[in-house]
């Protein structure tokens, strides 16, 4: 759905860039701190009725309470942790599988390469969400891990395609031939020449995949295919809040803001990383 190559933009150049990186780092850092802190401390017990049902925000409950009287801010904080786990898990899985397949395709014979490329195109055309839905639905009982694995696998196709293209570009270089002649093994070529050359672009892409993974998991949870509370993701909170939107609209808004802020934060970070990784882009246009 989203193409990563077009995110970038305007002509203002490097000042705007360092700015995107900083803001992105602050937002993501904040989520990281909040997410990690929930391992030790939360304002209230996430499973306990700490207030009345659907209370409006107050000093005691900054974001109010949900329909079971649980503190919404506590649940949103836990959502940060879940989102970070999902994003990280999905890009680790997607990255490892994707890079491996991409490299294999880049080195493979013409026929195998064509087959892999066609297979990847089909997988990419199949929406992440549907693939994840099928995997989650077929494994008995939806859990956070099935969702992460499903999203990771779906993302791996995109990573693989990118790795393949980037690696092929590097492989055409004269220094690869020189390196091979001087006796470097294929594994050596990958380690010494290919990975160092392609990682900046891959990293930026993975950062964007992180945001997409968070959205995909939230959508799965929204559809009722994610983990139930107290370890619920923002998607589940939003789904529960939709039923009470007439009396307590905030519950349907706050978790969404948390989600969007994390995704935007990661996207800004990716945008900033792109420049750090590739200085030539700064002077384009």
């Amino acid at each position: 759905m989203t193409d990563t190559s077009l995110i970038d933009t305007s002509p203002q150049g490097s000042t705007r860039r360092s700015w995107t990186f900083t803001i992105g780092a602050i937002v993501v850092g904040l989520h990281l701190v909040i997410g990690l802190s929930t391992l030790f401390w939360t304002p209230y017990d996430p499973t306990a009725m700490s207030g009345g049902r659907l209370e409006m925000p107050s000093l005691a409950h900054v974001a109010g309470t949900d329909r079971l009287g649980r503190d919404l801010f506590t649940l949103i904080m836990i959502g940060s942790r879940i989102a970070l786990i999902v994003g990280t898990g999905a890009i680790v899985i997607g990255g490892l599988i994707g890079i491996a397949i991409g490299l294999l395709a880049a080195f493979a014979s013409r026929t195998l390469d064509d087959m892999l490329a066609a297979g990847l195109d089909i997988l990419i055309a199949f929406p992440t969400l549907l693939l994840a839905m099928l995997i989650v639905a077929s494994s008995d009982g939806a859990s956070l891990w099935t969702a992460i694995v499903a999203i990771g696998i779906a993302n791996s196709a995109i990573v693989a395609r990118l790795t393949r293209i980037l690696a092929k570009r590097v492989l055409r270089m004269d220094y690869i031939t020189a390196s091979r002649i001087s006796g470097t093994s294929w594994i050596g070529v990958v380690a010494i020449h290919i990975l160092p050359n392609i990682w900046p672009t891959l990293l930026v892409n993975l950062a964007l995949q992180f945001g997409l993974a968070v959205i995909a998991e939230a959508s799965l949870s929204y559809l009722g295919l994610g983990t139930p509370p107290p370890n619920a993701s923002w998607g589940r909170l939003l789904q529960e809040a939709q039923g009470t939107v007439y009396t307590a609209p905030l519950g349907a808004i706050a978790p969404g803001i948390a989600l969007v802020s994390l995704v935007i934060g990661v996207n800004l970070l990716a945008d900033g990383l792109r420049d750090i990784a590739d200085p030539t882009r700064r002077r384009r246009r």
Binding site: M1, T2, D3, L6, I7, T9, S10, P11, I122, A125, P127, L129, L130, M133, L134, I135, A137, S138, S139, D140, G211, I215, A218, S219, Y222, L223, G224, G235, L238, A241, Q242, V245, Y246, P249, A252, I253, G256, L259, V260, V263, I264, N267, R285
Partner: protein, 326 residues
């Protein structure tokens, strides 16, 4: 000569379409069988004895070897038969047809609305990138891709159904399109939801296509020959810029069609997506398989149409008889 080129292209593209449909059917079939769990499980209760399970497997055909199952699947496809639901025993195809009457208008109208919003805004964002409103459009379209579609839906419900009470928060009239105004009313928010998300990403493509046009030699030449800026942009820019945009439109339309599942849940619409979701929850394999097959088919057809449209617009592609499709 030109006509022949088009014809040969058309035939070749049709052949590719047929092969893709066959491959899609195969992939789908395998994917559903590779997943853990026997389809027969939907029919038996927990703790059923082995004979009951065996009987259920026989009933759904999962006791046959995979190859036989596949031959059966393809031959019934050729007879436009997608089987019967495990749960309701109703034939799958007519049910899908009923649901397409919601999903297709929803997707198409959202798509048209998105194009109407995105094309002018994308062009403005590129042409007026030095003005504040140009930048605002770019920033908003970038924010748009970070927002999950279901949240936009919930926000629209909160504003337009809860606070303003202009539109219903969900549901679809049981008499469907017999009362078009009621149907339109209930589709208003879902359509806007999809259109907002879709236009956010479309704006970025239109903007980047316009930027390419702005930097092109032909535009400069046209200006040098005395055409005004807008004249040059309209006469030469639109046709050139639309080629890459159309292929993106095809992909966007396809992903919206498949992505409608979430939006249909937000607004409790009886469309293809909710049929799929229900099928997954109930382990109703024929329904799941049928929905996925029909939607894949639609996606392939959309891709086919987008390719043809590109050929018609771009003579460089049109006159090429050999070569790949991209």
């Amino acid at each position: 000569m030109k006509g022949a080129a088009i014809l040969s292209y058309l035939l070749r593209r049709l052949a590719i379409l047929m092969v893709s449909i066959l491959i899609a059917a195969m992939v789908l079939f395998l994917l559903l069988r590779l997943l853990p769990g026997d389809p027969a499980n939907a029919l038996v209760s927990v703790g059923a004895d082995p004979e009951q399970i065996e009987a259920a497997r026989k009933q759904v055909g999962s006791d046959l070897p995979l190859s036989e199952q596949f031959v059966g699947f393809v031959s019934s496809l050729l007879r436009f038969d997608l089987g019967n639901s495990f749960i309701s025993q109703a034939p799958v195809l007519p049910e899908i047809g009923k649901r397409l009457a919601v999903t297709v208008p929803l997707t198409l109208m959202a798509f048209l609305l998105a194009v109407v919003i995105a094309v002018p805004l994308g062009i403005i964002a590129a042409v007026k990138s030095d003005r504040w409103y140009g930048s605002v459009i770019s920033v908003i379209s970038q924010l748009g891709i970070a927002v999950p579609v279901f949240w936009i839906g919930i926000l629209l419900v909160t504003v337009f159904a809860v606070n303003l009470r202009i539109f219903p928060s969900g549901g679809f009239p049981s008499r469907g399109w017999q009362r078009p105004e009621a149907a339109f009313e209930s589709l208003a928010l879902p359509i806007s939801t999809i259109a907002i998300v879709m236009s956010a990403s479309l704006i970025r493509y239109v903007r980047s296509a316009t930027q390419d046009v702005l930097g092109s030699d032909y535009l400069r030449t046209a200006r040098a020959l005395g055409a005004s800026f807008s004249e040059a942009l309209i006469r030469h820019g639109i046709r050139n810029g639309s080629v890459p945009v159309i292929s993106i439109l095809g992909i966007e339309l396809a992903s919206t069609l498949l992505g409608a599942v979430v939006v249909e849940r937000v607004f409790s619409l009886p469309g293809l997506g909710s049929m799929l979701l229900l099928g997954i929850e109930q382990r109703d394999y024929p329904n799941v398989q049928g929905v996925l097959f029909v939607s894949t088919l639609l996606v392939l057809l959309v891709g086919f149409a987008a390719d043809l449209a590109q050929r018609l617009i771009d003579p460089r592609l049109r006159d090429r008889t050999v070569g790949t499709d991209r």
